[in-house]
Amino acid sequence: MTAPGSPTLGPPLGEPVALAAGGTSWDRVREDLATHGTALVYAWLEDLEPSLPSGDGLRELLGRDWTRFLDLTHADVRNRYIASRMLLKHAAGAVLASDPADLELAYGPTGRPYLRGCDQIDISLSHTEDLLLVGLTTCGLIGVDAERADREMYGGGLGRHICTPYESVLLSGMPEAERNGALVRLWTLKEAYSKAIGQGMQFRFTEFGFGPDGRPVRVQRPDGTAGTGDEWIFRTFPLDGGYVISAAVYDAGFGRLQDAHVTTMLDQDCVDAITEALDEDTGW
């Protein structure tokens, strides 16, 4: 297992896009989505804080998340909550050609977030410390996770709650200085995959694993044999500032969607029927 971010085989995924002033980031996000079917975009909390909405603007941005937000009391937690929703809705708004405030973030039975009424796109959110990360895909499902590359994981008995037997053997065979970084990579891949399938930690991390970096990444059974096929794409990227992010994307095989705009997604037969009905009612 090597440091995350070394060359991997398999279908490409665009490099994570850093949110920059001036809106140019959204062009990259749209381009990645058209090319790869998936886009990853990240931002730093301190960069977003000056533009976080408040008052009516905040309530409009959060929509049904407003009541969840009111339950939060800690200022840092509140700001991160707002910033993550702002990043997500602006990124989704850019690719859907929609006003961010018109997008409604909803949650499935396991807490998995989705954009209500926009099933042409799947989303995933992650944050750690001041880093905020959003994943978008038109392929099928996506899960993303971010973590500090030097976060202490190896040792303290934690490995046996994270690793499969096969992964434990691989890690223990590595030079000691590389083990923690390799475990952080595995952790982010597991978090990303479990988010994509909507299970979170209900799917025990010791029940599925990943192989070494530097070769096509697949979900593995606890003994290291293949658990999934080519329908899943996994990538891990190092970010400046000492962070690692991973993405898990399930490709349902529908091909690339060139235009994800909200208006394009309207069913034409449905639009015709409504138009016809309105014409009859109003005599237009």
Binding site: T73, L158, E191, M201
Partner: protein
Amino acid sequence: MSLDNVDVFLRTVRDDLGLDLPDPSGADTALVDLPGWDSLNLLRLVALLEESGHRVPVHRLLEAQSLRDIHTLVKEYRR
């Protein structure tokens, strides 16, 4: 001191996980409202509890909404 005592439990969480718990309401604060709380800290807590003889199943811990909920499970699953 035993983790059965809620103050000892909270001190362990504060010291060993390095979390900044609000005082005195730390036990009842929602986990999602605790700065720094995340899934890795949950697993670190599982490992800590095991060391002190409390094998709490992860799926039960995932149902917890606050540290007091977790402490209730700690008492339930002591060896």
